[in-house]
Subunit: 364 residues, 3 copies
């Protein structure tokens, strides 16, 4: 416990934890102040995500490589998963889908572009292992394609064949989870040396004792779930108040909030000229959303959602996901980067964000 | 003749030749048992394709490099061509187009993915010549793009401009065949050294004497044509009986049946750690469909078809062909592979197959 | 002035300057001979573009690297810009957009393919710096994507959200120009060594004295503007007379005419086995259209156009631009080329040109 307090004292990001009680207090005192509740819950999720991330790594460090890697790979996007589950439970499928698509786009464009820019401002030209970057970009492309086929095939004709789309979504969800399982076998067992540098790098901070780590993991997950509930309840009204479209909130705000901890790790890796680490976090995290988080949500919608959720996205989201993965493949292809590459990747992200911000809701 | 019998005795695949007379017997005795006739004709085409392939290689081996290469390049997809011609003659244009698109997708995804998986299960990491793989993936991409433009440009508006699409299809067919001719000049004459390894490798089995090879080539082509007729007649009803959509049959079943011989060669190359050979067969065969088989069918539709056939595909097929060629470009880019790369490529193929299997016919 | 005359005597391309007075004479004497005026103005623009290009380089050579590079980068597509401005002023937005899309497609496909083919006919296999080619292809891809988002997102639904598209176009135009400015900082200041070979190479001819160069720059720009006016006025009727669609004229004819000088430089570099130069000119010029010319035209449409112009292109143009940039990325990826690669790239261009030539106007 002392250790936890010490960590909090030294990490300014964790000072934001003060907003966690503030969220619950706010909900009791001013249940209708949606904008305030939205802002408080955003500020509260960021430090909780950072704690979750550190706790996961600590457990992973103690349990040995194979189980640890498994834990890291499964719980790495726990924050995104908990937020999406809360939205799923509330039946807000548009928000769920926007947050899936947004997490893929934000991880590939914002996290990768930011890493290239921040690293490039400090180092003239940065080299990274293009072999493993290419393999990871390939995996991400294939994972995204599998996710996109239902939307691509049904096309504009969204009313036709609802039963077909539902059946197809379940089939593909099962397929994606099987592929995800094989991918873990691959990266943790048969070919772990290909992914070695990225994993070794993540253990930058001193790990906690396993008891504290497990307790933190459990406690913080509950807190994230509780805060997410406030977040999901208030997000729609807050969006209206801020003049933001629902698509913008799901795509940009939720994705940035949920991925804050990983972004901090990726950016810090880039500043230390360890771009392999940054590329691994960004592309690995995006693949995990496509191969694990998205299909799990589809399957769970049959259990906890009011109606089944499909894998069908609106066409604009499909275009953005495809472009994001193609961009990742292109910019990691040469194995070296400079600040302007980061600017361009961020520019594509800004183009998407601007489009979503301005887009009238009926087009979405 | 003795040699032929000896070959048959040693190659279990050729034992399936017993189904060739069975097809003709079945057609006489039970002309309405479509499901049976369909199954018999599928089983009969597989060994015939293997014989065709061996006969072509034997003739090629005897006639010297340039003519031999020409023969190999032209007759390599003879089975697919004969099946498609039979369907063309019967006016089943949907089946013809599905089999063109399916052959491109199956060769790039199933043949390439299967090679990566089977090779990777035996060898930890496999390296291949990424220079020539990239060039071949580039050619395939450009060939596919040329094939797709009529569909992409006319878009959803399929009723408008039928005359335009027809005129455009003929123009592009001529252009593609000219490019195909130049490609042969390139790979067989001016730059043969770039493609050397793949061609040398294919002569794995002992060649036949040229007389036997030519007789086999002629006789087996006639047999394939006759069996194809039964296949095309029975495929629609059999599809209904098996609960398969016409798109699934054309895309998946016809393509797997027609390409069985090449798949056997590609997979066997991968097991022997000769991935250059597998990549060359898979991408070369797909390019040949796009640059030669497809335009020849368009032009021949004016001679043997009831009405002219265009190069316009349904949008889902366009998406699948584009994704297949982009996948090929991505996974061959790094010049090395492991079993999980194969799993992912096969997963994309499975996604397509599942989609086509479940898709209600009116969406196609 | 003597120098100018000497240059004209030695450069057969400049003999076409005789068509400049012919255009003005023709306009006075036969104002309704649109086909004649169109042909004369095309023939007159080609040598003027060559003069502009040489004058820009001469000024650039005198003013030192940074300012010179800036001038070269800004005025490199001056001809295209002046023609587009004339069309913008006349309210011919379809022609403006077609010429933007056409310049990107023509520079990437025709200029790159022609360089590969012409170079490959002389040299067996040509190598070029694949590192910088990949970076440039990446920049071009991202620039094009930013340009395409408004069309991709609004999709087929072109009547909905006109205000949204307009607002978005202005926002993206500003963003693109900011990125363009950063790109110049990158290529001219912080990372000039990455682009060194291409710039050094362009100073092939002896530069003019700065006074002559500046006077030529000013005088020829005015002449281009005047001739462009005749061109834009006559192009529609001439298109009808030649049986060409407006899309074909904008996409193919205007782009070939406006880029003639750069093409001559790129092709000559390829013949001298300096493919780095050709690739740099082709991809750099296409990026400049997307990042600078297009957004400047959108912003200027508020000042000199009858109504605001958006960044929304018809879907066929979007597909063509995307395919062109993907093609550029693919063929420059391996860092080597041979004549057949050029044939294939030119074949894609021919496919586009054939499609646009045959396409009935109502589909555009």
């Amino acid at each position: 416990m002392n250790l936890l307090l010490k960590e909090i004292r030294h990490n300014p990001l964790l000072w934001l934890l003060v907003f966690v009680p503030a969220v619950f207090a706010g909900r009791e005192l001013k249940p209708d102040a949606h904008t305030l509740l939205f802002a408080l819950s955003v500020l509260a999720i960021v430090p909780l995500a950072a704690l979750l991330s550190h706790a996961t790594e600590s457990v992973a460090a103690k349990t040995g490589d194979a189980v640890g890697g498994l834990l890291n790979a499964t719980l790495g996007n726990l924050t995104e998963l908990v937020i999406a589950l809360t939205a799923l439970h509330a039946g807000q499928y548009m928000l769920v889908k926007a947050s899936i698509a947004g997490a893929i786009v934000t991880n590939t464009l914002f996290m990768l572009g930011g890493s290239f820019l921040l690293g490039g401002l400090k180092h003239h030209v940065q080299e990274f292992n293009r072999g493993s970057a290419r393999m990871q970009a390939g995996l991400l492309f294939l994972a995204t394609v599998a996710l996109l086929i239902p939307s691509a095939v049904s096309g504009s004709d969204s009313t036709a064949g609802a039963a077909f789309i539902e059946e197809l979504s379940v089939g593909l969800a099962v397929l994606l989870i099987v592929v995800y399982g094989m991918g873990m076998l691959f990266s943790l067992k048969t070919h772990r040396e290909l992914f070695a540098s990225a994993q070794a790098g993540e253990a930058g901070e001193a790990p906690w004792p396993v008891g504290l780590a497990l307790a933190t993991l459990a406690g913080v997950t509950v807190l994230v779930a509780l805060v997410s509930e406030v977040f999901v309840e208030s997000v729609q009204e807050a969006a209206v108040a801020f003049g933001m479209t629902p698509a913008f909130v799901g795509f940009i705000v939720v994705a940035l909030v949920g991925g804050a901890a990983e972004m901090a790790a990726a950016f810090s890796g880039a500043r230390k000229n360890r771009l392999d680490l940054s590329v691994g976090i960004a592309l690995g995290s995006a693949s995990q959303i496509a191969l694990f988080v998205a299909p799990v949500l589809v399957l769970l919608s049959y259990v906890i959602g009011p109606t089944p959720m499909s894998l069908q996205f609106w066409p604009g989201a499909v275009v953005m996901m495809l472009i994001a993965t193609m961009t990742a493949a292109l910019v990691t292809n040469s194995g070296r980067s400079a600040w302007f590459v980061g600017v361009l990747v961020l520019a594509v992200y800004l183009v998407f964000a601007t489009t979503l911000y301005l887009m009238p809701p009926r087009l979405q």
